[in-house]
């Protein structure tokens, strides 16, 4: 009987995950699109060396503003003659940076609270009440109030752009950690009862090492899935804040800001709000597809089928 078993070379489990991920066509396309957008925003400015904030002066201003698509300005120019192609890259840098940093902070906070609540029974009640409380907060109003609150103080401390960046990223993290915390807590509660954790504890592993060594690696997959989805949420939240005029200052381009600025010119120059809108939508769509593919790939029940 045993002869029939074919022996495979031992293999890292991430290769299995990658194999499964590759079969999800949407996720693959999503990843390609996402990488292209990231390249466009971060490598693009090295090739397309036009200052996104440069306003032409004198008669040039009259000649260069509100231009349509052309070779000199692939996405045209805005009402102040600034090159929209360069602004799109700059705006994308900010939106993606907010998305990724916001996601990291939110995941760190959520995982920390989830692990502590799941592992230490004494903290569980308090932390879960806290989570319920945060889930009951009306988030968008709170975000708007927070941005109104700390705008000036942080601008004075770190400068307008860094100050707003810190504020938005913190606000996003503070209002979006709850789902991750709940998922992680549930998983930790189940893992805690496993034999290998008991074995590790019986040889005297202190709680901190037990968590870092044995529990965290096992909650990695749900955390990774919610991390990808969190990027999408963070980008949309930032864009929504900027759209409502509560985000970054007006002359500082982000995708949401560019959509909001373009809406006023929708009738005459529709491309000005449509292009950044399409970029936001493409990014969010690709990230959501990646998340879908990851969820399937990381689920061992589906893998290998």
């Amino acid at each position: 009987m045993t002869d029939a078993v074919t022996f495979r070379a031992p293999r890292n489990q991430w290769w299995d995950v990658w194999d499964q991920f590759k079969t999800h066509r949407g996720a693959l396309i999503g990843m390609v699109v996402f990488v292209l957008i990231v390249l466009f925003c971060f490598v693009g400015p090295l090739i397309w060396r036009v200052d996104p904030t440069a306003i032409p002066s004198g008669r040039e201003l009259l000649r260069l503003r509100n231009q349509g698509f052309s070779l000199a300005h692939p996405f045209g120019t805005d009402n102040l003659g600034r090159d929209m192609f360069a602004r799109m890259m700059k705006g994308g840098q900010v939106s993606l940076a907010v998305g990724i940093v916001g996601m990291i902070l939110s995941i760190l906070l959520g995982t920390l609270i989830g692990v502590v609540a799941g592992y230490f029974r004494r903290a569980d009640g308090v932390l879960m009440r806290l989570t319920d409380l945060f889930l009951a907060l009306p988030l968008l109003p709170i975000l708007l109030v927070m941005s109104m609150l700390f705008r000036e103080r942080l601008s004075a401390l770190f400068g307008v752009e860094v100050g707003m960046f810190l504020m938005i990223v913190t606000a996003i993290a503070l209002t979006s950690w709850m789902r991750t915390a709940r998922v992680v807590r549930g998983d930790v509660l189940a893992l805690k009862e496993r034999e290998y954790v008991l074995a590790a504890r019986s040889i005297g592993t202190p709680p901190r090492r037990l968590i870092v060594r044995h529990i965290l690696p096992n909650v990695l997959s749900p955390v990774m899935v919610s991390a990808t989805l969190m990027i999408a949420t963070a980008i949309i939240t930032e864009s929504a804040l900027s759209f409502l005029g509560m985000g970054f200052p007006p002359d500082f381009p982000t995708w949401g800001r560019l959509v909001a600025d373009g809406v006023d010119y929708l009738q005459d120059y529709p491309s000005r709000s449509m292009v950044p809108g399409i970029l936001i939508s493409l990014t969010v769509l690709s990230v959501n597809y990646i998340g879908d593919g990851l969820r399937d790939a990381l689920d061992p029940r589906i893998r290998g089928r």
Binding site: L133, P141, I142, M148, F243, L266, M274, G277
Partner: protein
Amino acid sequence: MFTFTMRRLLLAIPTLLFIALVIFLLLELSPGDPMSDMPLTIPPEVRQQMRLALGLGEAWYIRFYKWLYLFSVVEPSHVLANMTGYDWLRVEGQRILSFQTRSPVADIIAQRLPQTLWVVGLSYLFGILVAVPIGIYSAYRQYSWFDQAGTFVSMVGFSLPTFFTGPLLILICSICVGWFPIISDTTLVVDSWANFLKQLRQMAMPVFVLTLYNAAQITRFMRASMLDNLTQDYVRTARAKGMTERIVVLVHVLRNSLIPVVTVIALGIPTIFTGAIITEQVFRVNGLGALLIGAIYGSDIPMVLTLSVVFAILIVLFNLIADILYAVLDPRIRYD
């Protein structure tokens, strides 16, 4: 069940008190001054008296207590009196006044509520009506072209932010084709068929945008829940008994897979009131979201505080309703 409901209702009170306190303190810290748009020529002592007249002179805990009293006793009495027509219900005295308009907050909310309910409520209803059949058929014919198209459309609808789909729709339907007005006329009174048609036309776009978003989310849940149930043993048993396919899917499977979907729908109802802030802004619908944004810009503290706490109450309430529904619909779940 009854004790569970009672316990949760009692627990909701400290939660809501805490949320109200947090929002109050946040607003307390805010740099906006309701006196900032008064002329600078007003002498300081008059300015001080005006601040006192706005109720800003006292310590924060006294003001919080007073607001709490007005919010939980006086305002509900007026709302009740207006709804039932019994004037004796009114508690006389001070009411929560908006800094911007100097009229009671509850009255302004009552004025704006119908706009939001019509646009956002209708879109939620349409969303459910569209999503449930699509979800059922998608799951029943998994991996068919209908399923592929349905999942793709729901992924797109779920990913596109409303501040993009809104302008896109305006561009297509209002600017290029000219079917619908760009900005809704909020003073329109529906008293004739012509006006009713006008109302329908101006509601069409915001309702469509929100329907797309709501339907996308509910379809995903419906499909996943149907898929979970279609592989269960009881489905095979029902088929083995000789039930027709229609009865198996629409009676046996659907009833079970609606349980999580109903709770998701209940959880989403508070977003009818809060989630449409951006859509209302795009289409200039004069509803609660627009009211909140205007109040935040104008540092209208009583209005922001009252609206946010009303939203929080809705969220807590519908969380509770979702939990109760879950237990009522699924006999395996017992909280006692």
